[in-house]
Symmetry: C2
Subunit: 92 residues, 2 copies
């Protein structure tokens, strides 16, 4: 079943407290080891967070952080990051 649509404002709050320090409030990674999440699809974000939570995917920080996320937290954060408008301009 497609990921249940999350709540944007609840997601913004969750991102502020839990994700922002590495992923940025604008969804651009704050250091080279961190991926950008700006404009990422809800489907992809939900899948990766659930993989970190279940252990299907592992990462030093994300495996720990994901353990503390409820399905709603995941859907809400995904709603927020996917709502970030992105433009992408390839190098000339």
């Amino acid at each position: 079943a497609p990921a249940a649509a999350g709540d944007l404002e609840a997601g913004r709050k969750k991102v502020r407290t839990t994700c922002q320090v590495c992923h940025g409030l604008n969804g651009l990674g704050t250091n080279p080891t961190v991926p950008n999440l700006a404009g990422e699809s809800e489907t992809y974000i939900v899948k990766q967070l659930k993989a970190f939570r279940s252990g299907a995917r592992t990462h030093e920080q994300m495996s720990i952080i994901a353990k503390g996320l409820s399905d709603d937290d995941i859907a809400n954060a995904a709603a927020y990051f996917s709502a970030i408008k992105v433009t992408a301009t390839p190098p000339k």
Copy 2:
């Protein structure tokens, strides 16, 4: 050691033949299951591609594609995607 810097033009060519169909030449995923790679750091892209190649991370398509990538292919594709200029505007 930091990822050896790849060659942008060789990377553009590699992305055209191997990555573009899902990840787009502008680095924006062409369907919801595919992550955006636009402006992603070389460090992160190299790490993920090597993880798919070694099996540390698995994915139906990426595990197969990554097996065919040399270290240069990986560095070059990473150089290309990271050179894409990105702007990110959070929702009001």
